[in-house]
Symmetry: C2
Subunit: 246 residues, 2 copies
């Protein structure tokens, strides 16, 4: 179903070396992280952790996609985060997990036991620095998402989501935005619905609508063709964005 998981020898060859919590580390600091890290893999669909679990381990996503989910009694659920490679799971200074974490594709995590990691935070300022940066970035992303959930129409929500994926898609040649004309959706219709505060039926209808209007093309369920990124951006509702993409 998937390509075999790449074997990672050491931090220096790690694919997320320059984007994860370790991004700012010097070689000697990296060494310290290297000493206490360990890898764990999960297969698609598997639960990584559940709300209320003891938070003994924190981790970075090395490859694959996972979701962060919040649920209420009657079955309603809201996806509150999409964890792509380099994203961080868990938080120092808290001992139970607040969300359900699920692997949606096969996932490899670079894990640390929380306690030693917390000690390292104090001795390696570059890790804490990077953690703060990442937390603030996620906070901004969460706030943009609040605008989407509170005020955007279904069509705008779908368009915004596609823009998000397009922006985070790394292409085979390594470029990030070069050819965004073809993107792979990392999650199912159901997960998308949960992310966007919609039902799967509405998601499906909006996809059909955007296709009929020529904004996107569909090639199977998971592949979306974007003939013109500008048009899609317009549909997303946040044009005149100040234009800052990253």
């Amino acid at each position: 179903m998937n390509k075999p998981m790449p074997v990672i020898e050491s931090c220096s060859t790690c694919p997320i070396r320059h984007r994860a919590v370790c991004a700012k580390c010097e070689d000697d600091e990296l060494e310290q992280l290297n000493d206490i890290k360990f890898y764990k893999t999960y297969s698609a669909g598997q639960t990584i952790a559940m709300r209320g679990d003891a938070l003994d381990v924190v981790a970075s996503v090395v490859s694959g996609t996972a979701t962060l989910e919040r649920a209420i009694e009657d079955g309603r659920t809201q996806l509150v985060g999409l964890l792509l490679p380099s994203d961080f799971i868990g938080r120092p200074g808290r001992d139970t997990l607040q969300y359900d974490v699920t692997a949606v594709t096969d996932v490899t995590l670079c894990c640390f036991y929380r306690k030693p990691f917390e000690s390292l935070l104090k001795t390696i300022p570059h890790v804490q620095e990077r953690m703060l940066e990442m937390a603030l970035d996620e906070l901004d992303a969460a706030r943009d998402w609040m605008l989407l959930l509170g005020r955007k129409t279904a069509r705008e929500k779908i368009a915004s989501f596609l823009m998000l994926i397009a922006k985070r898609t790394v292409h085979p040649d390594g470029s990030v935005l070069g050819d965004t004309s073809r993107i792979e959706l990392p999650i199912s219709r159901e997960a998308m619905a949960n992310y966007l505060g919609l039902t799967i039926e509405t998601v499906s209808r909006q996809f059909t609508g955007l296709r009929k209007d020529g904004v996107i093309g569909l090639d199977g369920n998971r592949t979306v063709l974007i003939p013109d990124l500008e048009t899609l951006l317009l549909e997303s509702g946040d044009d005149s964005d100040g234009g800052v993409l990253f």
Copy 2:
């Protein structure tokens, strides 16, 4: 309209000394912050800063309430944060502001120029530590809010909002949760609507509904009586919460 602003002599007598970014500072560290801080006040309704503004100054809210807002072209706006005393405005490492910041009551800010503040971050680990803690807390709050915006009904949204205010209300006697039977809403119906992803008409109708059902009482527009916090919690949709209130 308001009580006169309290004059703050030094950090040691500051009302937010133990909750703001400086919470973990030792006396000598506090001294350093003290040296570069300055106060600024805004009156109710005034714009503190706008999206796109250069972010030369970062600040903590000392007293009053401000809002963090995101807008799209056609006038739709979404409140993405409620800034109460001890909350932080601005972020190190970014040079333009992402949101509109508005004072909803008279507000006093404890300000720092961003550049020197960033330098201090590197030399005073306790500030960075606290910033990280606060950023992660806000991230959790933002995610809970995403659940609210994406999945809750109008009535649940209002109930959740009232719970939020009840929890953060500090009573005259200094207790936090003691007598929550009477709370003051810090913001107008319009701001509430923008916070909850509703219209003011719906907000109004839900207030009326909750009153008719005896869940709350109203005393004027800004004062809400809560006969039974349990009942309100039930209406908010996140009972079986794990019960952790703080």
